[in-house]
Symmetry: C2
Subunit: 469 residues, 2 copies
């Protein structure tokens, strides 16, 4: 309680502002922890010798600024902004500054997208030219706010067996933009959002940016822990649940059909929406895994489906799409317009032709052959090289493994990251994927999209030597 | 006061929530006006027979939801969300649904971008192919978070005489995205923002979406009214001021150099930032107008400069850039990453080559010749055809005229819009550019980017006939 004591002074700055600032500082320097209950209004007003209204106003200010949450009948709780900001910042600075040439000196396990080496430049160049010859400058005008109708129609036909209404498909510039515009349309300050634990750091950033309250539910091998999930739902009005249905980033977990149906049922019962980020479901190596998205199983229009073409196709194309529930369709469309009006129309037309000509299917088949081989190779090498030093599950698809350091290893994943980097190996420390940095200290992600078998072998041995020390 | 009376019932819904909902409804249906002072806590608690804390909590809730603003020492004020949402919605639906073929049946005065008819498809196709031949799949990988270094370097060299640091340039997907990511980085709930009155509706939407308090300052012929501006600054802590320095949208006004210097001085004095949307400054027809952006005159790093290439070049390319003050550089860069990671790299490389080869300069010169001619033609026709029915200023550049209906005309701009549409003419009613729909009822914007002299003559005569009735 004593940490809340503060010398209040007479000035233009009202007392309640002085108090709010003091508490904000306590939260920033971890004197008050994220989620810690703040003193009751009565206790704090007594301690600081001010009246109740002053404390009420201070707490109100903290709430407005997203530094506190009021739970009805239970009090006010501290909310820490960007807990792992510091490391995240350093991490992103490293990649921000790295040129393509520099990157070539590293064995790079951070890849999240299919490698550009496999990209069929000549057929893509072909469709681009065909579009420009066919449409002329029209290809670069932005007529259609929902996206090029040809592309929306191909998506419906080739990926959804024409089961959708083309008007419910909205073209966006990749999954990150999808998450951003859905959040703008749905999530307000202090709304409650559930995410998987761990989850994609880009999604966490967006929800934090909306000043949402974020609840994390642990991911098991076949999806989230339903019991923990239900406990949260019973106590809190939840707006939405963000998940990755296949080869979850970073854990590689895939939801079982049963778990999907159960979550859809609960969504209806507790009246929340599911944001399904369909991440890399094109790459299935384990034949026991069947492809059935939440969206396909969704009978109550509870799912906002997000698909990026940038992950599997090529990052620089910056195209993806959303399928909106009828209820949010309009606000999500408007949110897209406010965000960047529309997505590059030339690229949309090129992708449309690329799909229509059957190149897309060919390309995906090709990737599956290459990456299945790498996946199997890496799986064996992880066992052979690391032996008892780590634990991991087998995702059965996708582009990475999520590795846990065994208890015997005296190293956290941030240190491991820096040591690897000195040895010209890049990996992704688990700390990026959790609200609280501590939770990810024993984990790291190894992606195999940008490394061939040779590099995998070499890179894993370098990491292993660091673990041995 | 009586409108605030409400029957409170015992239920799971706390009384303060019931009260907040009731007031929210009053605001929605205009029983309480935007900016109207809500009753004092004491008066309302007495009226509803509840204690003060209940009202405090209700007001707090309204504030969190962005429906009210507390002004210290003065009380709580209603804040209407999206005042002109209804017409805006109808307006945007009309354009959302219009196909390119349908649009051809209209004489279209709504154009905001240079017309695609003038776009040199073949030279653009040339640079695209050159990039793909040179860089291969690399052209479609997204290595650089700030944007392709080649393009940033060309921008610095050709548009800024190499006066910038390339790291302070951030490539974005057009001005709309620039405004969106700057807002995310700078503006929080209830922050104060000043805009020009009238202003670009896409910017208004973004600031509203951030739940900012928006102050409007009238635009005069040479920029905003400085006296009104200062009055607002004296009473309120302002975070930023959004403006268009050349051929302001919709008024066509251009800031005088003196006014720019004065505003920059005031920005330092009152500690706020200027978001400069450099809109269409490439098209200057009046030789008395000199090009000198706020950014060029800025000695205190107070300007966030936003430039779209989509307006003048071609909309479908979706490229623009930001110049960030050192202080906000990092948060604006992170905000871009959270928004969509990066902008299409192929397009960036193509634009880079397009500028380097001198095509850009050629293209702009060509546009200036065409549009100066149209501008002069339209200026004469506006006078000849409309005569005393309207008033307007001469922008001396850009792509549109902003027209005021004379008092003798008994028609508002929404009605005019619908009547014109029935007669196959499209124009933009002024109501879109104001916080309060009423303020724009006597105005409309006529853009000449998509209409040739023939259509201008025909279209203006159709509008004139409607005004005569």
């Amino acid at each position: 309680m004593d940490k809340y004591r503060i010398e209040l002074y007479e000035s233009d700055i009202p007392k309640y502002v002085q108090i709010a600032k003091h508490i904000k500082r306590l939260i920033d320097i971890n004197e008050v922890n994220d989620g810690e209950r703040l003193p009751s209004i009565r206790m704090l007003s007594k301690l600081l010798n001010v009246n109740n209204d002053t404390i009420i106003n201070a707490y109100k200010k903290l709430q407005t600024e997203g530094c506190a949450v009021q739970k009805i009948g239970s009090g006010t709780y501290a909310k820490k902004k960007e807990i792992n900001k510091n490391f995240k910042k350093q991490y992103s600075e490293i990649f921000k500054k790295m040129s393509a040439d520099e990157a070539k000196n590293y064995i790079d396990f951070t890849g999240e997208n299919a490698c550009s080496d496999f990209f069929p430049v000549s057929s893509f160049k072909g469709v681009l030219n065909e579009v420009l010859d066919r449409d002329g400058a029209e290809a670069l005008a932005y007529q259609e706010m929902l996206g090029y109708i040809g592309l929306r129609d191909s998506i419906n036909k080739y990926f959804w067996e024409s089961s959708l209404n083309n008007d419910n498909i909205l073209i966006v510039s990749g999954a990150q933009q999808g998450i951003d515009i859905v959040s703008k349309a749905m999530i307000n300050v202090n709304d409650n959002v559930i995410v998987e634990k761990p989850t994609y750091s880009g999604a966490l950033s967006v929800f934090k940016g909306r000043r949402a309250n974020i609840f994390e539910v642990p991911v098991e091998e076949n999806g989230i822990d339903i019991e923990v999930f239900k406990k949260i739902l019973k106590k809190n009005k939840i707006k939405c649940f963000y998940l990755m249905s296949y080869f979850q980033n970073p854990t590689g977990a895939t939801y079982s059909i049963d778990k999907k149906n159960e979550i859809l049922r609960i969504a209806e019962e507790y009246d929340f929406y599911i944001i399904e980020d369909d991440y890399l479901s094109e790459l299935i190596y384990d034949t026991n895994i069947e492809y059935k998205s939440f969206k396909t199983l969704d009978v109550n229009d509870r799912v906002i489906y997000i698909k990026s073409f940038s992950k599997i196709f090529l990052p620089g194309i910056r195209i993806g799409y959303l399928i909106c529930p009828e209820r949010f369709k309009e606000s999500i469309q408007n949110s897209k317009i406010d965000t960047d009006i529309s997505t590059s129309s030339l690229m949309q037309r090129a992708l449309h032709l690329y799909i229509e000509k059957g190149f897309w299917k060919e390309y995906i088949n090709h990737l599956n052959i290459i990456y299945k081989d790498r996946y199997n190779f890496m799986k064996e090498q992880l066992k052979n090289i690391f032996q008892q030093k780590v634990e991991f599950n087998l995702p059965g698809g996708g582009l990475n493994f999520y590795i846990k350091l065994s208890d015997s290893i005296d190293l956290d994943s941030i240190k491991l990251f820096y040591e690897c980097r000195e040895n010209k190996v890049l990996l992704t420390p688990g700390v990026l994927f959790y609200k609280n940095i501590k939770d990810g200290e024993r984990f790291f992600r190894l992606g195999f999209s940008k490394v061939d078998n040779n590099e995998i072998y070499k890179g894993l041995n370098i990491i292993n030597n660091l673990l041995k020390r």
